[in-house]
């Protein structure tokens, strides 16, 4: 189903909050039940809209981290201290609350097993979310597409979906972490920001033409995409999802 179908006009739907689970000290996983949800593609996102009693509104987009699963979807929200929406979602929202959301949206930053690979996924912090949907879908579909994930996090405790990534490793999925601020004792992995050398070591060779998906804060994505092109990867095979500074 690569390409598009006539999707119909999107509108705002009311979803129920089912579960809120701390994932790391700063990130919570939030599961919604969305009546009539017709499924989504790995990499797509939802727009969430909050309305205060006086009509004041704020909207943000969050990548869907779950593979298609009936009418349930999961997002991962990082609490930004000076954010307007993220502290509400992580501190105030409770199971049983309702929320307005619109989606699924986005056909550009998506992957499905029929597209093949190999795959190179590069995540900065909570940018792992849409890539997690791809990884989970790959597992559910028992795809054997050769997949490499390079994940940049501040510390071990702040790796989002760390346990699940550990479990899913193998069967053609390799996961490399870089911990940029603090590392646990005995850590032998990368300890710096993702750069050209690291990508040269981790990524497939350019002549394997991997499909590349990079997601995270805008400066991270810019640096990674530029480095990959410098290494010889084709720009048209690199898809980016940048979390701008308004993603608060």
């Amino acid at each position: 189903m690569a390409g598009t179908a006539v999707l119909g006009r999107l509108k705002w739907e009311v979803a129920d909050v089912v579960e809120i689970v701390p994932e790391t000290p700063r990130v919570k996983r939030i599961v919604f039940e969305v009546p009539g949800w017709a499924g989504h593609r790995a990499g797509q996102h939802v727009d969430i809209r909050l309305t205060a009693e006086d009509g004041y509104r704020a909207e943000r987009s969050y990548s869907i981290a779950s593979a298609p699963d009936g009418t349930r979807i999961e997002i991962a929200v990082e609490r930004l201290d000076d954010g307007e929406v993220s502290p509400y979602l992580t501190d105030e929202l409770r199971p049983g609350d309702q929320i307005e959301l619109r989606g699924p949206v986005g056909g550009y930053f998506v992957w499905e097993p029929t597209e093949g690979g190999p795959l190179l996924l590069v995540a900065g912090g909570s940018g792992i979310a849409p890539l997690m949907a791809m990884i989970r879908l790959r597992a559910a579909a028992r795809s054997d597409v050769e997949t490499r994930l390079l994940c940049s996090s501040r510390s071990w405790a702040e790796i989002v979906y760390r346990r699940e990534l550990d479990q899913l490793s193998g069967d053609g999925l390799t996961v490399a972490h870089t911990l940029t601020r603090t590392q646990p004792r005995g850590w032998t992995g990368y300890t710096r920001r993702v750069d050209r050398e690291m990508l040269a070591e981790v990524a497939q060779a350019p002549d394997e033409s991997p499909l590349v998906y990079v997601c995270g804060p805008t400066p991270f994505v810019e640096a990674v995409a530029t480095a990959l092109v410098d290494l010889g990867h084709e720009a048209r095979l690199i898809k980016t999802e940048r979390f701008g500074a308004t993603g608060a």
């Binding site: 205060a52 704020a58 307007e84």
Partner: protein, 200 residues
Amino acid sequence: MSLISRGFRGRRADGDPARVPPGQYLTPDFPVLSAGPTPHTPLERWDFSIVGEIDEPRRWTWEEFQALPSEEVTVDIHCVTKWSKLDTVWRGVSVDTLLNEVETSAEYVVEFADGGYTTNLPLEDVTGGKACVAFEYDGGPLEPEHGGPARMLVPHLYFWKSAKWVRGLRLLATDEPGFWEVNGYHNYGDPWREQRYWGD
């Protein structure tokens, strides 16, 4: 009305409601909104021009511009995206100063900026003390993300009428809608009459 999100307030500031135009909310920050990438024109290459329906075009280099009389003003600003900020402090050169001794029959003006942004107004909305070219904000040099080295300041209209990275004014006999006016926003933009969009 749509679903109210229990417990959601957003980040709002307190202030005198009489100073907040309809549909606006007070913000404690100074949101950075931009139609394009931040330009970085070095001051040695910067100039401000007045062109168009004018006896002789005028031009000031940065040094010449800094030598002009400037004033500190405290104004409220209102963005069409619904945030307002009260008592913002700027230093700038009044447009009246720039148009001093200018002969023109023009009735309209277009502000033009680095990056290609334009916005249009009646000439009378930038004269009579209503507008200045601001180069300082809150006591310091205007930051690039907020329009530095210099931007227009026309506080009686929605803030898209105050072009960031302004490089000049073009005087015209007829009105010429600018970037946002062509693409959906109101041609005039009075926040007190809530003139946000076409047809408002």
